[in-house]
Point group: C2
Chain length 499, copies 2
């Protein structure tokens, strides 16, 4: 039975590079059933604001695999990113982007660069949850889950093993974001223990980006969170010499999407000058994912051989290096002619079946072993208010409150402690607007809210609501509430800067 | 009357590079009163977990200016970053980091690189406000204010003018974070109109980082948000050839702090091999800030002359380029000997008084003109619950609720829409845990929560509390509440992915 794939020709240079890619795939002798769907500009303009018609899901549900050319999102409001929609709807939690130098056949400052970036694709700030709640303050939620961290980190290690990689590096900013990025880093350290054959290290994201930009050859596989991964993927591609040469995979438990990393470049469309290499690389990743490694090797080797021969599209053509400037179609024909040949200097592909990670392992005992449910205990809450008078009015009003149950432990604004202050002469500037009031059940905490002296005192939702109702009667304009919890008797919230 | 500065010698190589820097400053003939404070490792170990003794604030309150050598934060929990504490407590909202090539005297891949990065220093994710509220989910708040954006963007333009720069580039990620990063970008576009003599452009952060890493010479002044600024500052410094050569300023309305950009490097401390250039550059920025531009020029020119002469500390020593390898002290002596001389190839400093931005402009009419208070209207709320049963149980329970006032408009998880779905066959995977319920006052919205059909219906806090109390009776375990507002009748919250 032939395998089925869904194919989207996209916009701009999309159709021509997809045409070239499919010609090469067909010439390789593999028998694939190809379902074509329409996506992108035309569909947006028909009023489908995700760039996708509902009928596309039928094809996707059948094939589970999509090879996608770049698309153009029209300017103007209301359009949702097709890629974000696909990633989230199909659960494509892992973005895999190998970037390597083609030295000496394509100019690159880093001849030994050969890095694979594995980016978490569903969480972090990219959930796009935002609120404005005061005149001044806008908020975006950064959400990170244990499961999300575990899946992507395990994916990175499994990828390293399946692809004979030696090292996995973690990038995070856990010196600042101790809970969210801290979770990512801690998960990395824990899962690393299960893979003693793989070397590991960790960089703070700013230093990591700097090292990647200056010395990419020191990295092998990098695993990181969504935003950071977005940034470092682009750095890696750019310094490799050309964004036209890399493909990427977006992989989930059930679905997978493969694409070139570049955009639709409408300015050079229909001129037969676009470089199809990125999409051809994506098709090689797809064939591996389909367990068609022999075909993947055949195409990858022919592609590298063609680049080695110096048949170069204008984006990588260089008088001193290239042999001949060719068009999109001629490039594809050269690749087809080279099917069966191996590159001489560039590495020969030697993928084996099952070298693509399909994540069955995620549903295995391996990952479930580690799940222990914590004991969660409610001890209080932060109430964020919109305050327009001065600080002493606020403090006086708060001090006049009467409660059997709750005590005020902290006032802060944008994370900066305003009460209680160690040194009253060093009151930070306070301009009102969004202000956080921390109330904790009486007797639970000592001096500060992070100093738990009696974790056995209970607080319940009804007590909290009654107290907030009382605050409301006093005309507090609350805009936001965050519960304060202990997990396994450990504090699960941050202190104010200066507490 | 001599001007006063506070000086901190720091840890590791701190004392020796500070000693060299102060010798040069003294030799320049300027009369400064120097107050020394102790910060860093020793102070942390004495139990002050911000790395600073309360007495240090007295000196800072007197001088308003601190020149700080790098410090070492001891390993282990509980220590707060001294830099973050100083930035927040002193309101140092602007980080200024000029990075340039010293080609051909120090090896650099980018001979024409000359970029100044202006980073917002107080807001964004670095407020460090985090919560864990379910077994799975950890949250960090990204907070951005109108005032914060206005201040840093205006600072960048004023800096450009005062320092004869031609272009200011904005970096943000507003294709994803339309409200928070959108505010930054919009503020940039608005303020740019007041400075028609300065060219402007904008990059999405991932592409911007990639361009900076590959072609830094295309940038002049870059202004960006806290996290992005942290990342690009490090990229710029690293690709310039040495992190030992740059200084930085942290500037607020009342205080300012100047430092080298590198760390305390304890492994090379007390060996007379550290490069004091970064801290000397910081002292030049400080002198400018003090309106002592003549002295700033004198020192900067002597410093560049010394580098040009090939007197190089080991970090930048290169057999083919350098003339002589020198120690920390010898380097400082060479700079002192060169006071009065100008570099021949490297640019001659020509700072004028008031070229450092002291932000009086921020309290001027110019920035206050733009403040218009919006009309804020409460229309509903998102209630985040911790849900452990399946989705249909949740939906059934929600459908059984009775309310005269509120209607359920959306259920989502991590930003992904679960209800109402356009196509019920495409239900995303749902595993419980943190789930958001959106309730809006009846009759306010049409089909979706972003479709406002009657903005005149009012909702008040008491109605919301009564309704949440009712939900609480039904055993909803709520962990988080976010109010939903209209500002000037415009929706001030995001929709779910797929809504």
């Amino acid at each position: 039975m032939s395998k089925i794939i869904t194919v989207a020709f996209g916009d701009g240079i999309g159709p021509e590079i997809m045409d070239s890619t499919l010609k090469i795939v067909n010439a390789s002798g593999i028998n694939l059933k190809i379902n074509t769907i329409e996506v992108g500009k035309k569909i947006y303009e028909k009023g489908f604001n995700s760039g996708l018609m509902p009928s596309a899901w039928e094809s996707l549900n059948e094939s589970k695999i999509i090879l996608k050319a770049p698309i153009t999102t029209p300017q103007g409001g209301g359009y949702k990113s097709l890629n974000v929609t696909l990633r989230k709807k199909l659960g494509l939690y892992s973005n895999v982007r190998p970037v390597n130098s083609f030295h000496p056949f394509v100019h690159c400052n880093f001849p030994k660069m050969d890095v694979v970036i594995i980016r978490e694709n569903e969480e972090d700030l990219y959930a796009g949850i935002e609120y404005r709640q005061t005149e001044q303050t806008f908020e975006c939620l950064k959400l990170v889950t244990k499961k999300g961290c575990e899946k992507i980190v395990r994916f990175a290690f499994e990828y390293a093993i399946a692809n004979s990689r030696k090292k996995v590096t973690c990038f995070s900013k856990d010196n600042i974001m101790k809970m969210t990025d801290g979770l990512f880093h801690k998960t990395f350290d824990e899962i690393a223990k299960e893979y003693p054959q793989i070397a590991t290290d960790h960089y703070i994201i700013d230093i990591g980006c700097a090292r990647l930009a200056a010395k990419p050859e020191i990295f092998d596989v990098i695993v990181t969170m969504n935003l950071y991964g977005d940034i470092i993927s682009d750095i890696a591609a750019e310094i490799s010499g050309s964004v036209g040469l890399a493909g990427s995979a977006n992989i989930g438990d059930k679905f997978a999407m493969f694409e070139a990393i570049h955009g639709s470049a409408p300015d050079i469309a229909n001129k037969n000058i676009a470089n199809p290499t990125g999409l051809i690389q994506a098709s090689v990743m797809m064939l591996n994912h389909l367990n068609e490694s022999a075909t993947a090797n055949l195409i990858r080797n022919a592609l590298y051989k063609t680049i080695e021969e110096g048949n170069h599209t204008p984006d990588i053509y260089n008088q001193n290096i290239s042999r001949k400037q060719v068009g999109t179609q001629e490039f594809a024909e050269a690749v087809i002619k080279n099917l069966g040949k191996n590159p001489e200097k560039l590495p020969v592909a030697n993928f084996k079946n099952n070298s693509s990670i399909k994540n069955e392992f995620l549903n295995s005992d391996k990952s479930n072993n580690s799940i222990e449910i914590s004991n969660k205990k409610l001890i209080g809450f932060d109430l964020y208010i919109d305050w327009h008078k001065n600080f002493s009015d606020l403090l006086n009003l708060l001090k006049s409150l009467e409660s059997q149950k709750f005590e005020l432990k902290m006032i802060s604004a944008k994370g900066l402690l305003l009460f209680p202050l160690l040194d009253i002469n060093n009151m930070p500037e306070y301009n009102g607007d969004l202000t956080s009031l921390r109330f904790v059940g009486k007797g639970i905490c000592g001096k500060s809210s992070s100093d738990i002296i009696n974790p056995d005192i209970l607080v319940n939702h009804h007590e909290i609501i009654d107290f907030i109702k009382y605050l409301c009667d006093k005309n507090f304009d609350f805009v936001k509430y965050e519960g304060l919890y202990l997990f396994d008797n450990k504090v699960a919230f941050t202190s104010g800067q200066g507490e």
